[in-house]
Symmetry: C2
Subunit: 192 residues, 2 copies
DNA sequence: TGCAGAATGTGATGTACATCACCTAAGCCC
DNA sequence: GGGCTTAGGTGATGTACATCACATTCTGCA
């Protein structure tokens, strides 16, 4: 399945577009490929695109005082990512995005998204629902943070995304969970 | 300013509606008043409305194992609240909402929101942007959780909502910060 | 107005985690 | 394939917080 089909299947789950509408929408996306380790958005960048992952795995992260990294999101195929704060408010990036593995993405500019939303009814509908899912996921993660200890959050993460265990290094999983790599290491070595 | 004017001013900040469109939209809202301590949504309820706060202060919270309460949101005037997970997925409430003070709200049903969104272009636009703001706020709070200690989060909260200091009891602020009331008490008594 | 329950303060103690220090093992690159 | 970088494991120690226990103050209301 090529990029276009993947995006189409993804959007048609929540919106009803004619083929012509989808083709028009798709014409605003640009395909890009990145190598493992490459940066897509770096802190301080001007941000004007969001990214739809076709293959590979990205991470969206924040670095505190140039010391600690916190991972906001592992972006897997059919996920969207960007520094949405910077994108919507036209400010410089505080959140960075780079590639955990080689990756293929579709890029959509903020201007084009707004243009499409104003031209195609169902596109606006789609983006409303997409943001909504993001909001719910974020709220769920916040609750999990307050309510569960590290071990429970680790198991929750692996239950939801079993692929992560082999795909991403453990210190990145620790950065997602918000604990030190040492603590994570001790956790799953102790529980045998 | 009455409820209608407050909602109108709120919506017109991000969407362009004609007076007739707004009147039609407004006709789907119901006014309700609640007393301090009254529940609006209780765990296990069927959820089919969301709420726009006109006056007073609500809290949206989650209770773990019937023991600990975590506050997801203090809802102040012009804020929206509900158990959005239950509302969108048609499941029973896991998040409850009640009144910290006497409150007046406008209620909108999930069905009516979707109906309005499909009928009025700019209404869908408004709700897309509203959800987006919620998503960004939630992500910001998640980052603050991972990155800052309790004292920093406490100061951040009071800097953003100074009214809270006098309006809500300290143990609720602790429940928002995700710490015990004892820890919060020691925190601001130590820093004198 | 006096009393019950709620809100708040504070000490003692336990624990989950961070941090630092150091070690081993596994890529990866000229 | 030897050396360098990155990932990962593990001990010792410190610290921020939870928890329990109890004292104190506030507040609503009969």
């Amino acid at each position: 399945m090529d990029s276009k089909e993947i995006l189409k299947a993804h959007i048609l789950k929540t919106a009803t577009l004619t083929d012509q509408e989808f083709d028009y929408l798709f014409s605003h996306f640009k395909s890009k490929s990145f190598k493992k380790g490459q940066a897509i958005i770096s802190e301080g960048d001007k941000v004007d695109h969001e990214y739809f992952v076709i293959s590979g795995c990205l991470k969206a992260f924040f670095i505190n005082d140039e010391i600690k990294m916190y991972i906001l999101q592992f972006a897997m195929p059919t996920w969207w990512t960007s520094d949405y704060g910077a994108l919507y408010n036209h400010t410089r990036a505080t959140i960075s995005v780079d590639c955990i593995s080689d990756a293929a993405v579709l890029c959509l500019s903020n201007d084009d998204r707004e243009k499409i939303c104003s031209e195609i009814r169902q596109a606006e509908h789609f983006f409303r629902w997409r943001t909504n899912r993001g909001y719910l996921a974020s709220q769920k993660r916040l609750l999990s943070f307050m309510n569960n200890d590290t071990k429970a959050r680790y198991e929750e993460l692996l239950a939801m995304y079993p692929q992560l265990y082999n795909l991403v290094p453990k210190h990145l999983i620790a950065a997602y969970l918000g604990v030190s790599r040492e603590t994570l290491s001790r956790l799953y070595n102790a529980q045998k």
